[in-house]
């Protein structure tokens, strides 16, 4: 919403400066977005007086003028026909920038004679399109700044333009008068009266209006007048200046009037060329499919139920949103029908949204204009038309009735203190509300018809507080919920999320936060991409579906980094993935991705390509950090984006999957343009069982002072036999004595023959009661061999 200072002053009698006004506006909740100081670009122009003007000896049209300026007498060559002795002019001295010709004036020679500046026209200073000659001022002292002269004599030309943001609850501030009312309530001046003009109805309009019964809830009231014999044409300069200042293009007087009152009094109006209206006007609902060519030169098709103003020829206006081109006013219009109607905000909002029309009328009607002002606004417009364009007006044509929005709420003066925490005396509260247009009867505050947002006691508090200024609010400590040291607030899962994240970072992974939506093709690679997870209105096809997993986002990140020349990557993300489109159909994941080598090549030859055991180690480390049990099963058969032979599911039983690690399927990498191989893990932190014990006690440490003994074994087994089978079998040989079993060597093929491998393991024995004797050790060793050969069908390697 834009307006100029002088426009504001038409409604507000104030001496406040622009700064005071803008500060107050922002503080009141009418946030100033910008102030355009139109005088700034003219600040260097000064007033001069032409002392003499003689013909240039070498040019018929040029005059050599001696001009009195603030820096003494200057010689200026001028080509304007009106440059003559005695006139008061505006001078741009050397060094001054002239906006209209985008030039900085210098000292120059024109046909051999020196010139020390320029005398300016209105167009050269961007004041108007006038360029028939240089400005002749009717008054002004030599040396004064021209902007000061303008401010005094023609302020509309240099008026600052103030732009404010309007929150949806304040339709009343979409008119300059509403803004003035807020400022007056704040004490920045007093409201000037805006009397209702008397419009004489000289005849009965031959255009009548009707509202269908089923449309009265959308158009409760419609008022109009027919004005005959107007002379349309350009608007008066002051009106054009105002519209231009706020960025509207003056069109013709009849149209400009409607725009003017839209902004001045938040009263959108429409003017029909009465001679183009066939028969009478009827407000009704669309059956669906009707078409209208609107004023924006586009054709719209009505949907069933939307409101139309029709005449005998069909739709002539998209009710409350935009008029039709057919009956629009032109320069030739002589008979005009002026419409002022009240439209239901909700229906206008839906129609505007459905037809995708953003008009000033829709913007205001959907926020709610003042229903009671509907006929008054009509007469303001008609009076202005009669005054400037002549003609005679009919009596008022009307249909429906102004809806009753009267309501009152109790003003509880103590509520400001208890809700806001400001002490404001009751009399001041009443005064504020009165200034805003509320009528107080006892402790009941009757809401003015222009404030549809005030719907309860809390709104009264808000009005009082904002006018008093929330800036004055003093903070007051919020008492603690409990005395003493605050308790921890995070849930176990939130803690897990944090620990998983920090463990992954400690393991050398860089955390990414990628978008929750990805393209359908990538989603499909990871089991997603179904319609249930599809966005209805994605901003691009790259972001069309909710991600089914974190890996596709990480792979896309890897591809981008590879394209930038970073081949060795360790990326991870912690966040939700979506298995459906209903609230709650999301699950927390931790995923990590390794691509390339463990590091750049180095003198120690330590760098090597990343492999499955890297991600297995990292997955295990994170699971361990978030409290997963050490004893897990590693199973195969995870989803098809994993390499079929190179992945493992970390499980507690066949159905309880804590995580998956492995190499990603080469086809997936190819589809996602990632140079592989790539290793990854995905963990489900919520699947890790909650610890059973309550409390922090770790239990007593059970250790033995007796020396532990280690024995190594090597077994030859089939190549498909898994190491974990050996370890579990060996562990089972003596549960009391065997503390740990570790695989330390794997050897495949060679002298062992095709399909065989050797696995070597260390068994650590920890006696608890007595030192182990050779016979004890031998006995356990034998059992280890027995168990392992039985479990694997392998043999002890000799």
């Amino acid at each position: 919403m834009k307006f100029t200072l002088s426009w504001l002053k038409q409604h507000l009698d104030t001496t406040a400066s622009v700064d005071e006004i803008t500060y107050a506006l922002t503080d009141l909740g009418l946030e100033v977005e910008g102030v355009e100081d139109r005088g700034a670009k003219l600040a260097d122009f000064t007033i001069g007086k032409v002392l003499s003007a003689e013909k240039h000896p070498d040019a018929d049209r040029l005059r050599v003028c001696q001009v009195a300026t603030d820096e003494g007498e200057k010689q200026i060559i001028c080509g304007a026909p009106n440059a003559r002795e005695g006139i008061t002019v505006v001078v741009a001295k050397p060094g001054v920038y002239v906006p209209g010709i985008d030039t900085t004036i210098g000292v120059g020679k024109i046909r051999g004679i020196e010139s020390f500046g320029m005398m300016a026209s209105e167009r050269e200073m961007e004041l108007s399109d006038e360029h028939d000659g240089i400005i002749e001022l009717p008054s002004g002292e030599v040396g004064d700044r021209f902007v000061d002269w303008l401010a005094e004599n023609d302020p509309a030309k240099v008026d600052p333009v103030i732009e404010i943001a309007i929150t949806p609850n304040r339709p009343d501030a979409l008119g300059v008068r509403g803004i003035a009312r807020d400022l007056a309530a704040r004490g920045l001046g007093t409201m000037r009266p805006n009397p209702v003009p008397e419009v004489e109805g000289a005849f009965v309009s031959d255009i009548t209006v009707s509202i269908d019964d089923d449309t009265l809830d959308g158009c409760p009231a419609f008022f109009g007048r027919l004005i005959r014999g107007v002379q349309n044409g350009p608007s008066p300069a002051w009106l054009q200046d105002r519209l231009r200042a706020i960025g509207l293009r003056p069109i013709s007087f009849l149209v400009d009037v409607t725009n003017y009152f839209t902004y001045d009094l938040n009263r959108p109006l429409h003017v029909f060329d009465a001679d183009k209206v066939a028969g009478n006007l009827r407000v009704h609902r669309a059956k669906g499919g009707e078409e209208i060519a609107a004023l924006d030169e586009k054709t719209y098709t009505f949907q069933p139920g939307q409101m139309i103003i029709s005449d005998d020829n069909g739709p002539e206006s998209i009710a409350g949103v935009m008029g039709g081109a057919e009956t629009g006013c032109t320069e030739e219009t002589v008979n005009v029908f002026v419409e002022s109607a009240y439209w239901d905000p909700i229906q206008i909002a839906y129609t505007g949204r459905a037809l995708k029309i953003n008009s000033d009328a829709r913007y205001r009607f959907e926020r709610g204009v003042d229903p009671a002002f509907t006929p008054v606004g009509l007469d303001h417009a008609c009076a202005m038309i009669l005054e400037h364009a002549g003609g005679t007006a009919s009596s008022v044509v009307s249909a429906g009735a102004i809806p009753d929005t009267s309501r009152a709420y109790r003003l509880n003066a103590a509520r400001v203190q208890s809700l806001v925490g400001m002490e404001i005396h009751e009399s001041e509260q009443r005064q504020t509300l009165t200034a805003l247009g509320f009528k107080l009867e006892g402790d009941m505050a009757h809401v003015p018809s222009w404030r549809p947002d005030v719907m309860g006691e809390a709104d009264l508090v808000e009005e009082v507080a904002r006018v008093a200024s929330l800036t004055k609010l003093q903070g007051k400590p919020l008492p603690r919920l409990t005395d003493g040291v605050p308790k921890p607030v995070m849930t176990p899962i939130q803690r897990r999320e944090q620990i998983a994240r920090r463990t992954a970072a400690a393991l050398g992974y860089n955390e990414c936060v990628t978008y929750s939506f990805i393209d359908q093709a990538s989603a499909k690679l990871f089991g997603g991409g179904a319609d249930a997870t599809m966005l209805e209105n994605p901003i691009s096809s790259d972001m069309s579906h909710m991600r089914p997993a974190l890996l596709p986002g990480l792979l896309q990140a890897a591809a981008r980094n590879q394209a930038r020349g970073f081949a060795d990557l360790a990326l991870f993300e912690v966040g939700p993935a979506f298995h459906g489109g209903e609230p709650g159909e999301q699950h927390l994941l931790v995923s990590g991705l390794l691509v390339g080598r463990t590091g750049p090549k180095d003198v120690h030859s330590a760098s090597r390509p990343v492999d499955v055991y890297d991600v297995k180690a990292d997955a295990e480390a994170i699971l361990s950090a978030i409290g997963a049990p050490a004893k897990v099963q590693i199973m195969r058969g995870a989803q098809n984006w994993w390499h079929p032979g190179r992945h493992g599911k970390i499980c507690l039983g066949p159905k309880k999957v804590l995580g998956v690690f492995g190499e990603l399927h080469p086809r997936v990498l190819e589809a996602m343009d990632v140079k592989g191989p790539a290793m990854a893990f995905t963990l489900w932190p919520t699947e890790v069982p909650m610890p059973r014990k309550a409390g922090a006690n770790k239990g007593a440490l059970d250790i033995s002072d007796l020396q532990a003994v280690e024995r190594d074994f090597a077994f030859v087994v089939d190549a498909e036999v898994e190491a974990l089978t050996l370890v579990n079998a060996a562990m089972g040989a003596d549960k009391a004595l065997i503390e740990d079993v570790r695989i330390f060597d794997e050897f495949i093929g060679g002298s062992l023959g095709e399909g065989k491998k050797s696995l070597a393991l260390t068994v650590r024995l920890q006696p608890k009661d007595a030192t182990l004797k050779d016979a004890d050790i031998e006995a356990v060793a034998q059992k280890v061999v027995e168990k392992v050969t039985k479990a694997t069908g392998g043999t002890l390697r000799g």
């Binding site: 922002t26 909740g29 946030e31 949806p168 609850n169 949204r353 959907e366 926020r367 208890s418 809700l419 925490g421 400001m422 309860g456 709104d459 508090v461 808000e462 507080a465 904002r466 929330l470 609010l473 003093q474 903070g475 400590p477 919020l478 603690r480 919920l481 409990t482 605050p486 607030v489 995070m490 944090q498 920090r502 970072a505 400690a506 393991l507 992974y509 860089n510 955390e511 936060v513 929750s516 939506f517 319609d531 249930a532 966005l535 209805e536 209105n537 901003i539 990140a557 981008r560 980094n561 912690v574 939700p576 979506f578 489109g581 209903e582 609230p583 159909e585 999301q586 590091g599 003198v603």
Partner: protein
């Protein structure tokens, strides 16, 4: 005997290596060495002679032994020194590289915010990213026709043919978590709800996903003055400054009344933000007293309970505090960016240790 002593001590001193030292030991104090032979002669001596010669021989033996041990140690030292002289490494060579992982600024700042509000008794509530339009809008006093709905650039979920429920939305703010939390716990309550939110907007300063933290405190007599204090304390703690001016500006949000936008005093010099000084004001959050209709929607009786709510952008305050220029880069996962703006694994923000370092 003195001859013997000086002979062997000289030999020991002159020995060049451990082998010759061993030869000397055998010759001198070995079983058949000269000292042993002298010892044997003691038997032939008179008692008087033996009383003199015995201790002298023993002293001689121990003196030689000490000299041998000392020389052996000296030789070992010399040998070690000699070996170490040849053992030289170019210690300017680089090490085996270790990857340095990082925490994303959004995670870090979320933890910072959580630490501060936890101290004031706020716990962390969470809710679904896909939500019904009732939780995202209606329950927050934003009915279907409300202009705020259109202004929010909402992402809608696809609806299958025949499913005539209003489409679900990607939550446009973290405020629906307020409602879910109120439903779950009732009043009194103090929560913050950090998390991702979505709006269909993408340009220099907008990304279709960003992060917010919502705050909600409901009790019998919580006022806007308490809100101001909480935010003042938060801003001071978060920006790690001693004092800060907060400006409450009247505004409007459908879910709060009265509503205020909150600015902090700051200065911008050479593109660097300094909080708590200067003449500029920076808008950092929206807030207000929870609208009675919102309390009702959450199942809380507005005639008994009241409280405040606020919401701010996590990405935004991360940008302000850590000088991150471009929002879009947060979600691009550029390794260089992650390394530069990321945080070390052990940089856990705490109030006792400090939020940043």
């Amino acid at each position: 005997m003195d001859d013997l002593k000086s002979k062997y001590l000289t030999q020991i001193a002159d020995a060049a290596d451990e082998a010759s030292l061993e030869d000397i030991r055998i010759a001198a104090v070995g079983k058949k060495g000269e000292v042993a032979l002298k010892m044997r002669e003691l038997g032939k001596m008179t008692a008087e002679e033996r009383q003199v010669a015995g201790p002298a021989l023993n002293a001689l033996k121990s003196e030689i032994n000490s000299a041998l041990a000392a020389k052996k140690a000296a030789l070992a030292d010399a040998a070690l020194d000699e070996r170490l002289r040849s053992e030289w490494l170019d210690v300017t060579l680089p090490t085996r590289t270790q990857r340095r992982g990082t925490i994303h600024p959004i995670s870090q700042v979320t933890e910072e915010v959580t630490a501060i509000f936890a101290e004031m008794g706020f716990s962390v509530a969470e809710g679904p990213r896909i939500d019904t339009d009732w939780y995202n809008f209606d329950a927050l006093n934003i009915p279907g026709h409300h202009p705020a709905r259109a202004e929010m650039d909402t992402f809608y979920m696809h609806r299958a043919e025949g499913d005539n429920r209003p489409p679900h939305v990607l939550r446009t703010h973290t405020s629906p978590v307020q409602i879910r939390s109120m439903e779950a716990t009732g009043a009194p309550t103090r929560i913050i709800c950090p998390g991702g939110v979505y709006r269909a907007d993408y340009d220099q300063t907008h990304t279709p996903m960003f992060h917010q933290v919502e705050g909600l405190a409901i009790d019998r007599d919580i006022s806007m003055a308490n809100l101001k204090w909480v935010l003042e304390e938060f801003v001071k703690s978060y920006f790690e400054v001693d004092g800060v001016d907060l400006r409450f500006r009247a505004s409007h949000f459908p879910f709060t009344e009265p509503s205020a936008e909150v600015d902090i005093r700051c200065s911008w010099e050479g593109g660097t933000l300094k909080v708590g000084e200067g003449d500029d004001w920076l808008e950092i959050l929206g807030s207000g007293m929870v609208h009675p209709k919102v309390l009702e929607a959450g199942g809380i009786d507005p005639t008994e309970w009241q409280g405040f709510a606020f919401g701010m952008g996590i990405d935004r305050i991360a940008m302000l505090k850590y000088g991150v220029p471009d929002l879009r880069a947060f979600f691009d996962s550029d390794l260089r960016w992650l390394r530069h703006y990321g945080f070390a694994a052990l940089d856990v923000p705490t109030l006792h240790g400090g939020l940043s370092r």
